[in-house]
Amino acid sequence: MFKDITLGQYFPGDSVIHRLDPRTKLILMMAYIVAVFLVKDMWLFLFTALYAVGVTLIAGVPLSYLIRSLKPLKFILIFMFIINLLVTSTGEVLVEWWIIRITTGGVKQAVFITIRLILLVSGTSLMTLTTTPISLTDGLERLMMPLSRFRFPAHELAMMMTIALRFIPTLLEEADKITKAQTARGADFESGGIIERAKSMVPVLVPLFVSAFRRADELAMAMESRCYHGGEGRTRMTVLKYRRRDLWAYLSMVLLIGLTLILQAVL
């Protein structure tokens, strides 16, 4: 039951996109979000959408993977669509029935917002699809490093993420084992309403928590034994290095944002 949960959604590959520096990908993802928000006219989404499609193709990620990342959001998408459809009342009236009033402006707005959301989600998904969680953590740590001068715990946060990534599979495996053990003793996890099912999880979660704390204790000791004393004076085996391809990636984003801004101003 627990084992099926996969972490992140990394799509293994060796494309240029995969090999980009994680810092580049993080910054470009944020820039892409800005680019999407800069768009005010629907047809200008053409360029931002093309950009996402281009990245997908170069990365060799099947389009179905990208669509799958939208699935969990389908209710939000539908909800946002309907809300925008109903609350906007500009342009011609298309349908009027009881308190519902659908206008051409509403349809336009609803489609606009939906496209924007889809592009935002695709942009972030593209990053997690092409970057391993661990190199993402690395990139985040380096990007946040300058902030540690202001006592921002950049290294500590990255360490926490690393440990979480390391132990989530271990804990899921353990949860699976405990569930099986409790099932063997006659516990029932399948039937009953939501509340009953939630209650049946207690005998799984309690031992899981107890063991997690024991693990944390032992891990802390092992880390101390390995001379861990925070981020200060710590070096890394793999040092992130910008390459030519990172420059091209940044340039492509400058082009996208520039194009969007210029066309927006001209029109």
């Binding site: 271990t170 495996e173 693990r215 032992e218 891990l219 034994s225 001379c227 004076g233 890394r236």
Partner: protein, 270 residues
């Protein structure tokens, strides 16, 4: 190398875990510490790299007192420790990154870390798993990675606290082979804590603990020829030593300190 001087340790008010233990760990030796559950073996081990500080008495590592916080890091550089549960000592999601964790903490330049990691993985025969995820490995493999993580720090002493206890026989054999190679080839001092008397036979010296006290020390031959005494403390002999005593009781002429199968066979064939 490491000197324990009348070390007493209490967890909280009562619960005395070590009672005035004195022990000298020599450079290059392989010392096995045996004893029952709760006899204080782990507590003793944690004193060797300043994870615990003695309530009374003192522990010094090459002259450095563990009580001085300025020494802590230097002591931990010299004394590496591998624990029992292989799952709870690996920190990162990629094997080679994990082996690099210790050297990274020491602030070693990245090119040298890379070199050390490659050598350490080779030493434990895990080179082909360099990019694997730890949770996909077997217990024995994880424990080998943990040892590699220590070797990459180039310590002078390697302490193993029941590091074979959770492994299957094959995993245990793999780990023992590496440990004995590290001791023989690199001349690294090894302190091996174990419940298995068979493992203690391969050591240069055996220390026996009971109720927080060190009750016997000596070569495996000396310790395991005192079968009666060990048994009176509720401890068992290695299988070969038991067989030897049975044979002697049966009237065969066998040296009382034979502890390897080879020695027994030689004595019987004589």
């Amino acid at each position: 190398m490491i000197r324990l001087d009348n070390v007493t340790y209490r967890y909280g008010e009562e619960g005395i875990a070590l009672k005035s233990v004195s022990l000298n760990i020599e450079k290059g030796e392989m010392l096995a510490i045996v004893g029952h559950n709760g006899s204080g073996k782990s507590t003793l081990a944690k004193h060797l790299n300043a994870l615990l500080l003695p309530t009374e008495g003192s522990v010094t590592v090459e002259g450095m007192d563990t009580k001085d916080p300025d020494n802590t890091l230097n002591i931990r550089k010299k004394v590496g420790m591998v624990f029992q549960n292989p799952d709870n000592q690996l920190v990162t999601t990629i094997v080679e990154e994990d082996v690099a964790f210790g050297p990274e903490n020491l602030g070693i330049p990245s090119a040298e870390i890379r070199e050390r990691v490659n050598k350490a993985l080779e030493a434990v025969g895990m080179t082909e798993y360099a990019n694997a995820a730890p949770h996909m490995l077997s217990g024995g493999q994880k424990q080998r990675i943990a040892i590699a993580g220590m070797l990459a720090m180039k310590p002078e002493v390697l302490v193993l606290d029941e590091s074979t206890a959770m492994l299957d026989p094959q995993g245990r054999q793999e780990v023992l082979e590496i440990v004995s190679r590290v001791n023989k080839e690199y001349g690294m001092t090894v302190v091996m804590i174990t419940q298995y008397m068979e493992e203690a036979v391969m050591a240069d010296r055996v220390a026996v603990m009971k109720g927080g006290e060190l009750i016997m020390t000596g070569t495996p031959k000396e310790v395991f020829s005192r079968g009666e005494e060990l048994r009176s403390h509720g401890l068992d002999l290695p299988a070969i030593a038991r067989l030897r005593d049975e044979l002697i009781a049966g009237g065969m002429d066998i040296p009382k300190d034979a502890i390897t199968a080879q020695e027994l066979a030689d004595a019987i064939c004589r």
